[in-house]
Amino acid sequence: MDILYSIYEVLWFVLIVAAGIAAIEGYFYYHFKLHDRKWFMAVSAVFFPLAAVLLCRYVGLVQGAGSGELWAWFFITQVIINLFFKHIIKGRFSLPYMLLAPAFVGLALLLVYPFVFQIYLSFHDLKLTTIMAWKNTGHLPFVGIQQYINVFTTSPLSEVSFWALLLRTVWWTFINVFFHVTGGFALALLLNNNIRFKGIYRTLLVIPWAMPQVVAVLAMRGEFHSQYGFVNIMLGKLAVAFPALAAMGFGPVQWLSDHPLATCTLINIWLGIPFMMVVILGGLQSISSSYYDAADIDGASYFQKLRYITVPLIRPVLMPAVTLGTVWTFNNINVIYLVTGQSGGTERADILVSALYKAAFTYNRYSYSAAFAIVIFAILFFISVFYLKTFDAAKDER
């Protein structure tokens, strides 16, 4: 009967979520429809903070002490919301706001709150030695920007410095994205021809992307095993078949222990090509064939057509994909973490985000990690803005 109990729990959860959404919608509906009543300010400023405090106490978020302060906060918030609805919104756009409300509240809980908490953490000192005091007294020592200074001056791991990690990450991102784009482009060009069984090829090529990454990466890690992995077996056979190659030092390689970053890179290239291929193929198929006809008559060779027509015309789809790919690769903890083993594994393949993970959950330096994460966020933010700017500039051209 376990299964019945599970279903019961799921239904119960759905019910709570539905009730929550209903409460949010009711709250907004009240503000939209009754904002011009005389009693609006007074009633809502009393009722909603009271209800919120009671709810918090019922759920157990606060005990007896501290609810007075909570009440004050809720009261101020509610007054601001009231003024906003009374004087700015004035009951307009009720439907769009009400439809957006659940998503906004969800985003606020899942993104905004953690982000704000992270910023808070980054200016304090939460680590293994202070966490119990924080739990018992609620007090965290304020350290200003010391954590940010630490990010740049101390190592997040035991060996590698922040700057070495940054350089490695940039290199890793560049190599990966470069091969994703070129590989995806080459495959897309092949698939864009009129060939038989195109659908089958496309499906096969998309598999690495469609598989859960954990499964794909662990399977590939097996293939790089020094003794039983497909890669080394093939290298060994080749070395036997071509002694000249073997004489030049060609042969099986201790992938995981000697070249962890190269292994990760090879695996991640294999994982990332399908996405670029699909995006570029879409771009290629949207290019009108009459451009190629015109170029044929103009006397362009295959590579000239590629250079002067295909590449400029797929740029609008390519640039956002490259931006996304850059961010994903920069942030790709899965491959590194799963290939090099978890905590205690080698640090020679670590990039910023995997070092961040280790700093937080292996070395338990929470505030330091919060600052570290914000630095990484800032780097990615500037990369994205730069990409989008160049993309906008490219778009203005046409």
Binding site: Y291, D293, A294, A300, Y308, P312, R398
Partner: protein, 366 residues
């Protein structure tokens, strides 16, 4: 400049026959319009000449050189596409000079040619613009300019005006006519619009179902259509068709159907008695349907009918008349002052009447 020869050109897509043995000779400096309904193979024929489609069978010669296996860029042709195919990421100038730059031509020569073409087409001020920033007519002119700068032997136009609105189309039609006088080039122009064909062509090639139906000057095609298809396709409004059977009464020949008996004079169809019993279609252009009861020379007896609808076009008026089971369209001077439902009588002008065999669809009078 050069002449173009199609010899029994055939195109098949798998089992679908698109072109079935097309043979035309196009002379130097000639403006030839290939016209036909959509799907008749006219664009395919043009693309085969350009080298963009493979030739299933037959030969194409440009300037007496067999070009079947020559690359498009080596055929010395230039093509203007229906959707213009201007490269969207290049300026007008770059678009026009693209082919020349690929030929690695001298930069000054390129610039001179581009500016010359731009001057002809009034594009000089637009050279730095992107195609996106141009109107439809301007894009059309850039597409033509791109063809001009290459100084090709043959210009190919693939429905160049079909993406423009009616007024612009008229303007560009005149522009193209002027351009032809100026360039004095061999032009092959594909369209489905018979007005463009009539106004622009030195010679019209009418195509249908992958076969050439008739080749001739506009006036030949209009006055003496070879078959029912050409008769119905060329001319606006469309020709009237009266279906019936020829029967002889003594020396006289009549067309008869359920509600009409029409005398066929000997000068229209000689050897009348031999044709008796034949199923035919009579074709009369709306201009040759005379409304009113007064007798005129070389006209038929009057036929009584009822006015169904009248359309005022300005200086002309279209009258849709029903005479028994036959529907007849007459075009008369405005204003025809009768309301729908009133009785009108019409006469047909025998001089411009066409007789087609119903079975073979071919013209049987002279």
């Amino acid at each position: 400049m050069a002449d173009v020869k199609f010899l029994k050109v055939t195109k098949k897509f798998n089992e679908n026959v698109i072109l079935n043995g097309v043979s035309v000779e196009i002379k130097d400096h000639e403006f030839v319009v290939i016209v036909g309904p959509s799907g008749c193979g006219k664009t395919t024929l043009l693309r085969m000449l350009a080298g963009l489609e493979e030739i299933t069978a037959g030969d194409i010669h440009i300037d007496n050189i067999l070009v079947n296996n020559i690359h498009p860029s080596k055929r010395q042709i230039a093509m203007v596409f229906q959707d213009y195919a201007l490269y969207p990421h290049m300026t007008v100038e770059e678009n026009m000079s693209f082919a020349l730059r690929l030929m690695k031509m001298d930069k000054r020569e390129i610039s001179a040619r581009v500016h010359e073409a731009a001057a002809i087409l009034q594009l000089t001020k637009l050279l730095k613009r992107m195609p996106k920033q141009l109107s439809g007519g301007q894009r059309q002119r850039v597409a033509i300019g791109r063809a001009i700068v290459r100084k090709p032997k043959v210009f190919l136009f693939d429905e160049p005006l079909s993406n423009l609105d009616a007024k612009l189309r008229e303007e560009m039609r005149v522009e193209i006519a002027k351009l032809y006088q100026r360039l004095n080039a061999t032009i092959i122009y594909v369209t489905h619009d018979q007005v463009e064909a009539m106004t622009l062509a030195g010679r019209i090639v009418v195509m249908n179902h992958g076969i050439i139906q008739q080749t001739g000057t506009p006036i030949e095609v209009y006055r003496k259509p070879d078959n029912l298809f050409v008769a119905g396709f060329i001319g606006s409004p469309t020709m009237n068709f009266l279906h019936g059977k020829l029967s002889a009464e003594g020396e006289k020949l009549f067309l008869k159907n359920d509600s009409l008996t029409l005398y066929i004079p000997p000068f229209l169809l000689a050897d009348g008695a031999r044709n008796a019993g034949r199923e035919v279609v009579l074709g009369i252009r709306p201009d040759d349907v005379l409304v009113g009861s007064g007798t005129r020379e070389n006209c038929s007896e009057k036929i009584e009918g009822v006015l169904e609808v009248s359309e005022l076009l300005g200086h002309r008026e279209n009258l849709y008349i029903k005479a028994g089971e036959n529907r007849v369209l007459a075009t008369v001077e405005a204003f025809f002052n009768q309301s729908p439902g009133s009785k009108v009588s019409v006469r047909f002008n025998y001089r411009n009447m066409h007789v087609f065999d119903k079975k073979t669809q071919q013209r049987i009078n002279n």
